[in-house]
C-alpha cells in the first residue's frame, strides 16, 4: 500500500470496525507489571492439600491416625509379650496373673522384681487367660485396621472396574449391569453378610499353617462378603462420574485420534474422578471396621486367639462389672479410629470436592 501514513488514521467509513488509534495510549511500566504472575501456579492436588491442611479437624485426625499407626508398628517391638502368650515368670506359668488391673503385677512377678529383675509393666493389665492386654489391644487394632483397609481396597477395585465399564459402555450393557447393581443394592446387606459368614466359616477349610489358615476362615469370608456385596455403592458412584466426564471435548478429541477405550478410561477419565474415589474409599474404611466389630459381636469375627477390637470388646462383656476397663480400651480405640477416619473423610471431601458437600 503505497503512500500509507502510519500516523494518520484513514477516514472512518460507516459500519467499519476500524479503531481510532489516537484514542489509545501506551501502557505504563506499572501497568505492565500488573500482568505478571506473582504466585506459583497450583495443581488440583496441591490446592486440595492446602485446603485440607487448613482444616483443623482433618489435621487433628491425621495426627491421631499417625499416632495409632506408629503405636501399632512400634509397640510389638518393645513389649516383650506376644498376643497369644500366656504369661510366665522364669519359665513357670504365672497363675496369679489373671485379670490384673493396669500396671499391676502378680505375686510371682512382684517376687521376681524384688530379686532385682526388670519386668515390663502390663499397661492395660491382663485378661482372664493371663495374657497381656495391652499387646492384645495393639494386635486387635492391627487386625481391625488391616480388615478395614483391605476390605476398602477390594471394594474400590471391583467397583472401579465394574463402574467404569458400565459407565463407558453405556446403552444396553450399562442397563443390564445397573439392573444387577440395583438388585444387589436392594438386598439387606447385613443379613446377607451374616448368612454368608455363617456358611463360609463352615465351608472354608484351609491347610493348617498356610497364610489363609492363620487369618482364619471367618476373616477370609469377611473379605469375600465385602467383595460380593459392598462394591455396588462404589460402582454406582464411579459410573455416575464417568457418565458426566465422558461428554467432555477432550474425550471426543482422544477418541477421534483413535485412542482405545481402555486407554481413555485410564488416562483421561479416572484421573478426573480421583477425588470422588479417594473420598469414598476413606469413608469406606470406618464402615468396614464397624462391620467387622459387629460380626465379631455376633460371633462371626476373627478366629481366636487372634484378637480384633470387636472381639476384644465383645469378650470383655463377661466380667464387665469387675473389669470395665477391658471394654473401655478396645472400645475407645474403635471410636478413635472411626471418628478420625470419618473426620478425615469429611475434610477430604470439603477440600477436594466442595460440590459433594450438599449431598
Amino acid at each position: 500500500m503505497a503512500g500509507y501514513d502510519l500516523n494518520k488514521t484513514p477516514d472512518k467509513q460507516i459500519l467499519s470496525m476500524q479503531l481510532d488509534l489516537s484514542k489509545f495510549e501506551k501502557a505504563t511500566e506499572e501497568e505492565k507489571r500488573q500482568q505478571d504472575v506473582m504466585s506459583e501456579s497450583t495443581t488440583f492436588f496441591k490446592d486440595g492439600m492446602r485446603k485440607l491442611f487448613k482444616n483443623p479437624l482433618a489435621v487433628g485426625s491425621i495426627a491421631v491416625l499417625c499416632l495409632i499407626m506408629a503405636l501399632i508398628i512400634v509397640a510389638p517391638h518393645f513389649v516383650p509379650y506376644s498376643y497369644q502368650e500366656i504369661l510366665s515368670v522364669e519359665g513357670k506359668r504365672d497363675k496369679g496373673a489373671k485379670n490384673l488391673a493396669p500396671f499391676e503385677y502378680s505375686k510371682a512377678e512382684q517376687a521376681y522384681i524384688a530379686k532385682g529383675n526388670y519386668r515390663f509393666p502390663h499397661i492395660f493389665g491382663t485378661d482372664e487367660q493371663c495374657r497381656d492386654y495391652f499387646i492384645r489391644v495393639i494386635y486387635g487394632t492391627r487386625v481391625s485396621l488391616v480388615v478395614g483397609f483391605f476390605a476398602s481396597i477390594i471394594v474400590l477395585i471391583i467397583g472401579l472396574i465394574y463402574g467404569s465399564i458400565s459407565g463407558y459402555a453405556g446403552g444396553r450393557p450399562d442397563l443390564i449391569m445397573m439392573r444387577i447393581v440395583d438388585i444387589i443394592y436392594s438386598l439387606p446387606d447385613m443379613l446377607v453378610v451374616i448368612l454368608l459368614s455363617v456358611v463360609l466359616s463352615q465351608i472354608l477349610v484351609f491347610k493348617s499353617g498356610s497364610f489363609l489358615a492363620m487369618m482364619g476362615s471367618n476373616m477370609v469370608s469377611l473379605f469375600i462378603v465385602f467383595g460380593l456385596l459392598y462394591w455396588v455403592g462404589m460402582a454406582r458412584l464411579i459410573r455416575a462420574q464417568i457418565l458426566s466426564i465422558k461428554e467432555n471435548e477432550y474425550i471426543l478429541a482422544a477418541r477421534s485420534i483413535g485412542a482405545k477405550p481402555g486407554h481413555i478410561i485410564r488416562k483421561h477419565i479416572l484421573p478426573n474422578c480421583l477425588s470422588v474415589i479417594i473420598i469414598s474409599t476413606a469413608l469406606q474404611i470406618p464402615s468396614a471396621i464397624f462391620t467387622e466389630s459387629y460380626l465379631s459381636f455376633v460371633g462371626l469375627g476373627v478366629q481366636a486367639p487372634m484378637p480384633s477390637l470387636g472381639s476384644l470388646a465383645n469378650s470383655a462383656r463377661e466380667g464387665l462389672q469387675s473389669y470395665p476397663y477391658k471394654l473401655v480400651f478396645p472400645a475407645l480405640m474403635i471410636c478413635l479410629i472411626v471418628l478420625s477416619l470419618n473426620l478425615l473423610g469429611d475434610g477430604l471431601r470439603d477440600a477436594f470436592d466442595p460440590k459433594l458437600k450438599s449431598k
Binding site: V192, L195, I203, L327, V338, L339, L343
Partner: protein
C-alpha cells in the same frame, strides 16, 4: 405414577424371592445334615427322618416344598429345641417391633429437632455442642454404647432395672438403638435445613413480613424434611440389624437376640427363617419409604 409403583413392587418381590433362594441354597451348602449329632443314629432312623422332612428329594424340589411351606406360613421347626419357628417368631416379634418403632420415632423426631435447631443456631454454642455429639455418636458401635449404658445406669447406679420378664423397661435399649440413627438424622437435618433457609422463597416470605416462627415451621422445616424421609428406609434397616446387638446385651427376648443365639447355636432352620423374615421386613419398609417420598415431593420425577 402407577407404572412406577408397579415396577417398584415387582422389584421388591424379586428381591424377596432372591433372598429366599440365596438363603435356602447357602444353608444347604453347609456340610453335614441336621441329624449329625454326637450320638450316632441308626441308618434306618436317619432314612426315616430324611423322608419325613423331605431331605431325600433333590435340592430344587426341596426348595419348592420350602417355598410352598413359606407361603402357607410354615417356617419349619427349630433344630435346637424342636419348636415351631412361627411360634417363636410370633412371640418375640411384638417385643422387637415395639422396641424398633420406639427407637425409630425417637431417632427421627429428636434428630430433626436437634438438627434444625443447630441450623438455626449456626456457628453458635448450641450448634457446636449438637454437632460435636452427633459426630461422636456416629463413631460409637451400638454394642459398646449398650454395654456402657447397662453398666452405668442399671448396675452401678441402679436407676433402671435390668430387663426381666416382669420388668420391661425400654428406656436404655431404645437409647442405645436410637443413638446412631439419631446422630445421622441430626447431621442430615442440619444440612438440609441450612439448604432450605438459603432458598429464595424464604427471603420472599421474610420480605413479606411473615413471622419468624412461621417462616421456620411452615416454609423451611417442611422442605428440609424430605432428605430425612429418604433416609428413613436405610435407618429402619439399621435399626433391625442393630436390634440384634442391643437385644442381646440387654437380654431382651426379641427376634434379634433369638437370631444371634441361633447363629451361635448353628440352628440353621432358625437362621434361615429369621433371615427371610427380617429381610422381607426391610424390603417392605424400604418400599414404603420410597413410595412415600415420591408422594410427599411431587417434584421428583418418575423414571
Amino acid at each position: 405414577m402407577t407404572r412406577y409403583v408397579i415396577k417398584r413392587i415387582l422389584l421388591a418381590i424379586l428381591t424377596v424371592l432372591l433372598i429366599c433362594i440365596i438363603t435356602f441354597f447357602l444353608m444347604n451348602a453347609i456340610p453335614g445334615g441336621p441329624f449329625n449329632k454326637e450320638k450316632a443314629l441308626s441308618p434306618a432312623t436317619i432314612e426315616a427322618l430324611n423322608a419325613r422332612y423331605n431331605l431325600d428329594k433333590p435340592l430344587v424340589v426341596q426348595f419348592f416344598l420350602y417355598m410352598k411351606g413359606l407361603l402357607k406360613g410354615d417356617l419349619g421347626v427349630s433344630l435346637k429345641n424342636g419348636r415351631d419357628i412361627v411360634d417363636i417368631l410370633s412371640e418375640s416379634f411384638p417385643i422387637s417391633c415395639r422396641l424398633g418403632l420406639m427407637a425409630i420415632t425417637v431417632a427421627l423426631i429428636c434428630g430433626t429437632v436437634l438438627g434444625s435447631f443447630a441450623a438455626l443456631m449456626r456457628n453458635r454454642l448450641p450448634d457446636r455442642i449438637i454437632i460435636f455429639f452427633s459426630t461422636l455418636f456416629t463413631a460409637v458401635p451400638s454394642f459398646v454404647l449398650a454395654t456402657l449404658l447397662l453398666l452405668v445406669f442399671s448396675i452401678k447406679l441402679g436407676w433402671v432395672p435390668v430387663w426381666s420378664a416382669n420388668s420391661t423397661n425400654y428406656v436404655l435399649p431404645v437409647i442405645s438403638l436410637a443413638a446412631y440413627p439419631m446422630a445421622y438424622t441430626t447431621r442430615l437435618a442440619k444440612t438440609s435445613m441450612l439448604d432450605a433457609l438459603s432458598q429464595d422463597y424464604i427471603r420472599t416470605a421474610k420480605a413479606k413480613g411473615v413471622k419468624k416462627w412461621k417462616v421456620i415451621f411452615k416454609h423451611a422445616l417442611r422442605n428440609s424434611l424430605l432428605p430425612v424421609i429418604t433416609y428413613a428406609g436405610p435407618q429402619i434397616a439399621y435399626i433391625i440389624t442393630g436390634s440384634m446387638v442391643v437385644e442381646t446385651v440387654f437380654t431382651v427376648g426379641g427376634i434379634g437376640s433369638k437370631f444371634v443365639s441361633a447363629i451361635s447355636n448353628r440352628d440353621y432352620t432358625m437362621i434361615m427363617a429369621t433371615t427371610i423374615f427380617l429381610a422381607t421386613l426391610m424390603v417392605v419398609a424400604n418400599l414404603i419409604c420410597d413410595l412415600l417420598y415420591k408422594l410427599v415431593d411431587p417434584r421428583i420425577k418418575f423414571e
